[in-house]
Amino acid sequence: MTTEIAVQARNVSKTFDANSGDVIALEDVDLTVEAGEFVSLIGPSGCGKSTLLRVIADLETVTTGELEIFGKPARQARVDQDYGIAFQQAGLLPWRTVAGNMGLPLELHGVKKAARAARVAELAELVGLTDFVDSYPDQLSGGMQQRVAIARALAEQPRLLLMDEPFGALDEMTREYLQSELTRIAAETGAAVVFVTHSIPEAVFLSDRVVVMSPRPGRITDILVTGFGDGRGDALRESPEYFERVTAVREALHGSPVERANER
C-alpha cells in the first residue's frame, strides 16, 4: 500500500481583486503533504502562507491550478470534515464553557449528547484541561484558550490539522510548552499537520519538512527536510542538529528579499 496523500497542490495560484489592481497572493505553488506528516509553512509577511492554508481549508478558492485533499476537491473535504483548524486567536465562543466549545463541531454535526460528552472528556484529557471543562473562556489564560481551540480542531478526529500561527500570540514559555504538547498530540492522533508560522525555531522543532515561501508573488522557494523523526524532546532544542537546521532555514529565508512588515 502506498502512503496516502493528505494535501496535493499543483500549480496553485490565487489572485485577489483589489482597488489598486489584482494582487497575486500565490503563484504556481506545488506542495504535497503525506498522511501523518508535519509540514510548516514559513516566510515573511505577505508571502501567502496564510492564504495557502485558507485555500486548503476552502475558506478561499484557488484562481487556477488543482488542489486535492485526500483525493477530493477542497470543498468536498471541508463538507466531509476531513480537517480541523486552529487560528492565531483561539476564537472560542465566550458564552460557551470549555466543554461546550470543544463539543461545538460535534453538536453541529448531530452527535448525540452521551457520545459528545464522552468525546469531550477524551479531548479534555488529551490537552490536559480536565479540571477546566466547566470554565468559561474568559476564566482561562491565553495558552489554555489555545489548547481548547486545538482540542476543538481535533474533535472529529480529522486526518488533517490546519494551524495558522496558533502560538503567535503567546509568551515564549507557553509557546515552547504547547509546541511539545502539539508534537505529542500529532503523534498520538496520527494526523497530518499543516502549520503556518513566522518563527524559524518553531518550524524546525515541530516539522518533518519546512516549506520556505517568499512574497510578491507568494511562492515556494525551498523545502527543507529536518529528519528528526519521533525524537522531539526538550533535549532536541539544544542539539547541534537542531541549530544546524535552524541555520539552514534562516539562510533559505534570507536568500529571498527580506520584506518589511509594514509593506504588507
Binding site: A57, D58, L59, R78, V79, Q81, Y83, I85, F87, Q89, A90, G91, L92, L93, P94, W95, L104, P105, E107, L108, H109, Y136, P137, D138, Q139, L140, S141, G142, G143, Q145, Q146, A169, L170
Partner: protein, 298 residues
C-alpha cells in the same frame, strides 16, 4: 458589589436632586413668572422665560403625594392612587402587546436585512424614515382602519388593539436596527470557523449569530419597551381610548386649575409604568448573562 451600591446611591441622589430643585425654584422663583416683552393690558403677550411658581402651577411635592391618597373626585370615590394603578396596568398590558408585535416585526426585519444585503439597502432607509412620521398624524387613521375591520365583522378589532399597533410602530425600530447590528457582530474568525464546519445559515444563526447578538439586543429590547409605553400613552390620547393612563392624564390636566396636584397622580403612574416595563426587560438580561461575557484576550 460596591459598584452596584454606588449605582443605587447615584440613582437616589438624582431623584432627590430633582425634588430639591423643584422646591427650591418654587421657593425662590417669581409667583407669576417672569415675562419679557409683554404689552400692557394684553393677556398672554410676551415671552415667559421663567415659569410661574405659585401653588396652582407648581404644587408642592408633598401635596402631589398626599393627593394620591385623597378621594378621586370627592364623596365616596376611592383614593386617586386606585384608578391611577388600574389605568397604569391597563396601559402596561396594551404596551406589552405592542412591544411583542414590535419585537416580532423588528426581529424579522433585522434578520431579513442581515440575510440579504439588497434587503438592507431597500428597507433600512424606509425604516429610518418611518420614525420621522409623527405618531399623532397617523394614529387616528390607524384607529379608523381598526374600526372598519371591526365593523366588517370577520375579525374583532377592539380599540386597544389599535393602540397596541401604534405602540408597536415606535417599538419595532430599535429592535430592527439592534438585530441587524447584533447579527453582524460575530468576529470574522467565528464565521470562518462555522464555514469550516460546513454549517449553513440556520445552524450559524442559532449557534453563533443570535448568541453574539445578545449584547446588542438587550438595549434594543429595553428601548423598545420604553417606546411602547410612550406610544401606547400617546395613542390613547390621540384616538381617545378610555381606561388607560394617557386618557386619565389629559382628563386630570384639564382640571388642574382647580385641582393642581391631581394630574401628577397619572404622571407618576406613567413614570412607574416605564420603569416597570424597562425593568422587566432587564430581568430578561439577567437570564442571559453568560452571553455577555467578553473573551479575555491572550
Amino acid at each position: 458589589m460596591t459598584r452596584k451600591r454606588a449605582a443605587v446611591a447615584w440613582g437616589v441622589v438624582g431623584v432627590l436632586a430633582v425634588m430639591v430643585i423643584w422646591e427650591l425654584y418654587k421657593f425662590l422663583g417669581p409667583a407669576e413668572g417672569f415675562v419679557i416683552g409683554a404689552i400692557a393690558d394684553q393677556r398672554g403677550s410676551g415671552v415667559m422665560i421663567l415659569p410661574r411658581a405659585h401653588d396652582r402651577a407648581m404644587p408642592h411635592i408633598w401635596d402631589m403625594v398626599a393627593r394620591l391618597f385623597q378621594s378621586t373626585s370627592g364623596g365616596d370615590t376611592p383614593p386617586l392612587i386606585v384608578p391611577v394603578l388600574t389605568a397604569a396596568l391597563t396601559t402596561l398590558g396594551i404596551a406589552a402587546v405592542g412591544w411583542l408585535i414590535g419585537v416580532t416585526v423588528g426581529a424579522l426585519l433585522g434578520m431579513v436585512m442581515q440575510r440579504w444585503r439588497l434587503a438592507e439597502w431597500g428597507l433600512l432607509p424606509w425604516i429610518v424614515v418611518s420614525q420621522t412620521v409623527p405618531l399623532i398624524a397617523f394614529a387616528p387613521l390607524l384607529a379608523s382602519i381598526g374600526t372598519q375591520i371591526d365593523r366588517a365583522g370577520t375579525i374583532p378589532w377592539p380599540q386597544w388593539l389599535s393602540v397596541a399597533v401604534i405602540a408597536s410602530y415606535l417599538s419595532f425600530f430599535p429592535v430592527a436596527v439592534g438585530v441587524l447590528r447584533g447579527l453582524e457582530a460575530p468576529d470574522r474568525i467565528h464565521l470562518d470557523l462555522m464555514r469550516t464546519y460546513a454549517a449553513g445559515y440556520w445552524p450559524t444563526l442559532v449557534r453563533l449569530r443570535l448568541p453574539a447578538a445578545v449584547p446588542h439586543l438587550l438595549p434594543a429590547l429595553r428601548l423598545a419597551a420604553a417606546n411602547a409605553v410612550v406610544g401606547a400613552v400617546v395613542a390613547e390620547v390621540s384616538i381617545g381610548m378610555r381606561g388607560g393612563i394617557g386618557r386619565m392624564l389629559i382628563q386630570l390636566a384639564g382640571q388642574a386649575s382647580s385641582d393642581p396636584a391631581a394630574p401628577w397622580g397619572p404622571t407618576f403612574g406613567s413614570i412607574a409604568l416605564g420603569l416597570v416595563a424597562a425593568g422587566s426587560v432587564a430581568l430578561v438580561g439577567v437570564g442571559l448573562k453568560n452571553y455577555r461575557r467578553g473573551e479575555a484576550t491572550a
